[in-house]
Subunit: 322 residues, 2 copies
């Protein structure tokens, strides 16, 4: 799958989103401009803004509203990453030093706040109060999901159902909102809005599960972070939770957690146990189930290039290696 063609009919318009993101660096405060540059030049795939544009492509493809919407989604996403990295004390993301490691926690908290505010201003530029409220409620869900993850760190009594709820709030809700927002702005009929929202929700679940699998199976250099970094943070994701379910009594994850950020050897044993348990294959099945649901929601939409592109995004999300 070639990233250049991944987003089909809206691929070219992503440069307008990029320009909108760049323009927020025009602040008369040089330190802030530098920090914004650091966190926005991630080399990320801009999946969320692309989805906002694609969802807005079925009816009135009005870039004057869709571009601020798409930029707002990406900014909201990036702002939550900045705060997540403060919370997790993460040193690198996608192979680059995090804001909190280059600057400090204090500056990173404020940087994230500034980005939230800018995201709010961008979405307000659509002039659509329904979409504005959708964004506010999504940020509430995302913050709650992250809080949930923090509270449950090193807590192995919380199972798969809790995990699915958590990633539903932390990740899938914004992907769903990107799609729903684009559809609303374009004036799509209510059934299409709902279908695109469901598509985004299911795609977001598959995306996060794949992300959590890559944390075990991925290549450190391509991922830009060490293998097993979720376990290191005390975060149980689907692969480790499935192992906990099959061997609840005694397993290397429990041993690692009981030592609280225990030795590197204990972490390696835990990672190896996950890899050898078949939990990755079972996680893949769960991700496939969400992907199938995402595909099914597209049946209610016109069979055109936009829909084919959205199908391609599902395949990409499952197959990607970073």
């Amino acid at each position: 799958m070639n990233v250049v063609s991944l987003y089909g009919p809206v691929q070219g318009d992503l440069s307008l989103v990029e320009a909108a993101l760049n323009s927020i660096r025009n602040t008369d405060f040089p330190a802030l401009a530098e920090m914004l540059g650091h966190v926005l030049d991630t080399g990320g795939k801009r999946m969320r803004p692309a989805l906002a544009l694609l969802a807005g492509h079925y009816r009135d493809y009005n870039l004057e509203q869709l571009v601020p919407l798409a930029a707002s989604v990406e900014l909201l996403h990036t702002a939550t990453l900045v705060h997540d990295d403060v919370i997790d004390m993460a040193a690198t993301r996608r192979g680059r030093p995090t804001a909190n490691s280059v600057y400090d926690n204090a500056a990173s908290v404020m940087l994230g706040d500034f980005m939230f505010a800018h995201a709010a201003d961008l979405v307000a530029q659509t002039g659509n109060v329904r979409v504005i409220r959708l964004f506010a409620r999504t940020l509430m869900r995302m913050a709650t999901g992250e809080l949930d993850q923090d509270v449950s760190a090193f807590d192995w009594s919380r199972g798969v159902r809790d995990y699915l709820r958590r990633i539903g709030g932390k990740t899938a809700s914004l992907v769903a909102t990107a799609c729903e927002g684009g559809a609303i702005i374009s004036g799509a009929p209510e059934e299409w809005i709902q279908a695109l929202r469901d598509y985004g929700q299911n795609l977001g679940m598959a995306f996060q599960i794949k992300d959590d699998m890559l944390d075990f199976t991925g290549d450190e250099e391509r991922l830009g972070k060490p293998v097993g970094s979720d376990l290191m943070q005390g975060t149980l994701t689907l692969p480790s939770l499935l192992l906990m379910e099959t061997s609840p009594r005694d397993n290397p994850i429990k041993t690692f957690f009981q030592a609280r950020r225990g030795s590197k050897l204990k972490l390696e044993l835990a990672v190896r146990a996950v890899l050898e348990s078949g939990s990755i294959a079972r996680s893949r099945e769960v991700a496939e189930r969400y992907a199938a649901q995402a595909r099914a929601t597209l049946d209610g939409l016109p069979a055109n290039e936009t829909t084919r592109t959205l199908t391609g995004v599902i395949d990409y999300v499952l197959e990607r290696e970073s």
Copy 2:
């Protein structure tokens, strides 16, 4: 000045704002509900929401829009305090332990994010895109002001002009927005909106200068924080900046700063130098000047109970002891 009558015609309606603030605790996440309770029950004077209601009292006093607006202002204010306390590693605020000291930094960052999101949802409930964008831009100014303060900590080369710009962003902008937002919602004519915005901006400046004076002159028990806590954080406020201007070469603040969070004795010497220098009286003069400007803006408004109440708030801000 009696707080019960301080807010005149809108005093009783503040209970509706209180109810709106309480209702955000209705979350199915108990840990979050507890944290929200902790930070919202401050015993604060709810000046910002009262100003929003007062500014909305000149024309169509529509509580269905004004109450969400007022609650949003207070929530935005409280959310920034939660993040400020993380940034400053503050242990107490108004005599109560801060969120970051009761819970931790990670939870407090997310708590603040959740509150920002809820504030955005509340202001969106007004359905007024002009007001929504006003709020977003205000949060941008506040975050920039806080960043500015952080960058300039322990930097004594930055003078009074920088300080005034900083508190303009950090404090006065939200007070101005509370007034401007209420006036817009009520359908006031454009000159009144501008007058009320200017009133709020000048009142906010006087308020923050008085706050910074109290940090030197106040009673620790009534303030709920130790005297000299700004200097302890490395923050130069007007009283200390005025001393730095008159004795630039050699003064106890510089000695304290050069030792970076130096000894308690050095801090006491710095506080005493400020108290004995006449800087407090000169700060008072600056605050009075802003208060006079706030009073002058009210000349353009009807001479009624609401305007008399807004005048009373200016007096209160200057005379308060905590």
